[in-house]
């Protein structure tokens, strides 16, 4: 059966409908991009150098999270993120995974027994078992990462309902995230603290909900990780 040609009115209707859909999509994309930009973060990195640094190709670094505080502990995911990024790209550095190092050094780097100052490390290195393991791994620097991400200034509200005909959410929420981490670099050769790098990332996150909640999150921890890793890589390489 031959298709009946559409009359002019129907064609205009389809064209208008297509144009409207395209406009809605464009507005949606623009809103999404604008929201992402609005949820951007600002990151500050400070470096304090106390000694000369440099690393050979057969040497490695271990990044450890501080877990002595009673109310928080440095996220192992953040420590892993910094380590992964230091192993990538130009001037990549060999990084020993945190858990592998702690397990092989057991019980010397547990929260209760880990050295808090470089003179504790000096005492620790006097133990043959510790010195030999450090040597086996070729550890040149120990990087102690300490910090956490804090969420504050939560405002707004979102209410969700579910009924027989379906469900949905309506409302708006916003909060501020602040990731503050510092990394102390200990030289295992000289048993001295050779520097400290501080990374502070802040950002505002938004959660608008029009039927579906759309989280627009400020990636403060990811930004702090990325910037800290770049700075640490340069610091350890001595550049």
């Amino acid at each position: 059966m031959a298709k009946k040609p559409l009359d002019r009115g129907t064609q205009e209707g389809i064209n208008m409908s297509t144009i409207k859909k395209a406009q809605i999509v464009n507005v949606g994309v623009a809103f999404f991009i604008a929201s992402i930009l609005a949820a951007c973060t600002s990151t500050t990195v400070d470096e304090f150098r106390q000694g000369e640094t440099g690393i050979e190709t057969d040497e490695s670094v271990v990044i450890l999270g501080r877990r002595q505080a009673s109310d928080y502990e440095t996220d192992s995911g953040f420590v892993e993120c910094v380590g992964d990024r230091m192993q990538r790209g130009e001037n990549a550095i060999s990084v020993v995974p945190e858990q592998e190092f702690i397990d092989s050094m057991f019980p010397w780097f547990e929260p209760r027994t880990a050295p808090l100052r470089t003179r504790d490390l000096e005492q620790l290195m006097a133990e043959d078992v510790v010195a030999n393991k450090m040597n086996d791994y070729g550890i040149r620097y120990i990087v102690w990462v300490d910090g956490f991400t804090e969420t504050s200034g939560r405002t707004g509200s979102i209410s969700c309902t579910v009924g027989p005909a379906g469900g949905g959410c309506f409302g708006f929420g916003t909060w501020e995230d602040d990731a503050n981490f510092n990394a102390r670099v200990w030289d295992v050769g000289s048993l001295k603290n050779v520097g400290t790098i501080n990374a502070d990332a802040t950002g505002q996150s938004y959660l608008p909900a029009l039927v579906i909640p759309i989280p627009l999150l400020a990636r403060v921890e990811a930004n702090a990780c990325s910037r800290l890793a770049i700075q640490l890589k340069d610091f350890v390489n001595g550049s």
């Binding site: 928080y72 502990e73 057991f106 019980p107 010397w108 547990e110 929260p111 209760r112 027994t113 393991k133």
Partner: protein
Amino acid sequence: MNQPNMTIQALLYRFGAALLLLLVSACGASNVVIEGNFPTPNVNKMPLSVAVIYEDALREFAYMEYSETGREEINIESGQSHIRLFNAVLPAMFDRVVNVDTMEDAVEQKVDAVFAPVIEEFQLALPAKTKLDVYEVWIKYNMRLVTTEGDYIADWVLTSYGKTPTATFRSVQDGINGATVVALRDLASSFSLSFSQVPEVSEWLRNL
């Protein structure tokens, strides 16, 4: 004609029974069996031959956490994980370690001392109750070291602590397991590093 009605009725009964079972099981305490592997400590071995007695109280140790209304909430079984821990730690600390059931077995093994750990107290702090973003576990032990004649060499208290942070997709069971494993590692580290510094043990080692 009655057959379809009876089938529907039977299905309804079965559905009701299943729902009831689900509700009853939802009211019971959840069970957490502590699982984790423990590394061997890097410590200098002492030239000692030690027999270990794991009493039933340790082997079957379980802690029940109650809700604020007094309802049984979470049952934590950690006996076997304690035995796995001691089995990893003790052979790294002493030249010879034998597991025995009685003091008579220890005499037959001609050991220098008999070690019998006991859990005295177990405490759990859940984020829902403390309003902190961490699961916390405290364990208090009574470490007993005796001669094969049954005379006390040393009897000391050791406490261990472990915490693990809350995470978006971490269940309560995983949080408790994580905190307990950290507490067990803490026990292993303080026990292996402080053993020879316990005054009574130190004196016994000098006279050996």
